[in-house]
Symmetry: C2
Subunit: 319 residues, 2 copies
């Protein structure tokens, strides 16, 4: 459902898998205006209901702000579904609504599948289970934040913008050293903005509008660089991202031994990687449903065997 | 079952958890000669059968060479069990024997729980599910290898020895750069040996016996340093270990984007960390059994929710 960057990432992951195939793409745009890379047929979103017996899993590829809160419950009443809902503060609310819809329809749903939430969540859960006495640290970047880039683009005088979230090296190093520091928002990440101005725009005013923007930039050390449209095109077209989750903990009766777990991602293409996670989660929700599961689930509820294309014996070889 | 370093790690993890308690320790030694740190009562291993209704899970803390191949199937016929069987090449055989015994007794068993196999295995499974087009790299260390230390101690003229497995930095860096190199055994790890000689022993002969030892050292670049008993006591008493699992993969229709996943552990105490993993796995096998599962399982079959002390809602907060 949907055919933006994330959906193209899912498409590519499904097509290169050995056990999945792509049946249909649904769009709210005019279907005749959408051409899929794989040649998969495109239908109007309003016709999705006709496909109840033709597809095993619907992968919802919309945004978390307005699309998914509405689409996932609707779809879960008719299909087994996965989504990448990522508004951390509203996950519980989304979970309950999707759970109700899925139970009503006798379907299974797996929400918040991506890398954060998603793989990073799995690591936070696993590390906390193994090292209950400890502290979690999550750093994002260096990578492009779509939301922050969009926020800059809405400022008058800005023609284009790209915002990179960058972890503060000193803070990362302190955590890796096992120091368990308390870190403020400002101490964890800096924000680097690359901005193409409209002709005649005032760079001082634009810079001030960015760095003082509440929530997005005012709590951070933010740098703003003005570049040409050509430089933007040449140097900032990719969608790299990544980050790391660190659990710094102790073991021993008196907590005398330090133990450090770190999980990190270095991604050349954020949407393709997220799409790959969604594809694996589509496999998992299919299997859960076939095993009789109904309702809403998260990555806390899936096994690696459900996520994997491999057989039990093949997986045991990876032990 | 057993009360060595690993069992003391499990003891400490269980005692600091909020939902487990330690009922009994079993030993093949004279129980009156074993004193547990926690004051938990010690019984002869031969009396374990009397505890069938008194304990939920038996944690097997013996070695993989001779203890576990015999103990785990025996115990799985009577109890829900976990072990840390780590002879990679014999896991399938062990799995089948434990599965048969557990099914016969109507119990659940979770084998090969530790960090490798264990957490590292989970990462290999997860990364391969998300990035099917890619390559796995596992590096161990810098850390003490008990098996290699023991092998050196068996050489005539050696009073004590400690062997550190050390990843080769150039190879690690090449993998992190996304190069996907083919690495020989020698290119992945070096071996550092610290040896205390018996009085009058010939250091040249001992060094030669170490570096030429098949399987253990002959395929590696090995350094041998002779130290005093005081230096051994002062500098090499700890049991640090760690390592990392890297999946280097690609996404996109033509594999045009590189994606790198890395999981790393930096452990001050290997047995306490492994014991913490076993304790979380004991929780998981208990829950699987209560949900009706019977037979042998691995980390491929457990959910993070089963491993965790937290409730579903608490876990969703970690999303």
């Amino acid at each position: 459902m949907g055919y933006g960057n994330l959906a193209r990432g899912v498409e590519s992951a499904v097509l290169t898998s050995g056990d999945m195939s792509l049946t249909a793409v649904f769009t709210r745009r005019d279907p005749s205006a959408v051409r899929t890379r794989s040649g998969t047929p495109v239908f109007s979103a309003s016709r999705a209901g006709e496909f109840r017996d033709k597809i095993d899993v619907m992968v919802l590829c919309g945004g978390s702000a307005t699309d998914l809160p509405e689409q996932t419950p609707l779809a879960a009443a008719m299909f087994d579904v996965v989504d990448s809902f990522d508004t951390h503060a509203r996950i519980e609310e989304h979970f309950r609504r999707v759970d109700e819809a899925a139970r009503g329809g006798g379907h299974a749903a797996l929400i918040a599948c991506g890398w954060d939430p998603g793989l990073f969540s799995m690591q936070r859960m696993l590390s906390a289970a193994v090292l209950p006495r400890g502290k979690d640290y999550t750093f994002w970047g260096r990578g492009v934040s779509q939301g922050h880039s969009d926020a800059i683009r809405r400022i008058p005088g800005v023609r284009d913008a790209r915002q990179y979230t960058v972890p503060v090296p000193q803070s990362v190093n302190a955590v890796r050293a096992g120091d368990m520091p308390d870190l403020s928002v400002r101490q964890k990440h800096t924000r680097e903005c690359f901005v193409v101005l409209e002709e005649g725009a005032d760079p001082h005013a634009v810079r001030e509008a960015i760095v003082s923007m509440p929530h997005y930039f005012s709590d951070y050390d933010t740098t703003v660089r003005f570049i040409s449209a050509e430089e933007m095109e040449r140097d900032h077209l990719g969608m790299p991202h990544g980050g790391f989750v660190i659990r710094s903990g102790v073991t021993g009766t008196d907590g005398e031994h330090r133990q450090l777990i770190e999980y990190s991602l270095k991604l050349d293409s954020n949407p393709e990687f997220t799409g790959s996670v969604l594809a694996a989660c589509a496999r998992a929700v299919y299997r859960k449903r076939r095993a009789g599961a109904v309702g809403c689930f998260t990555v806390a509820d899936v096994t690696l065997s459900e996520l994997s294309e491999k057989t039990g014996e093949e997986l045991r070889r990876l032990l």
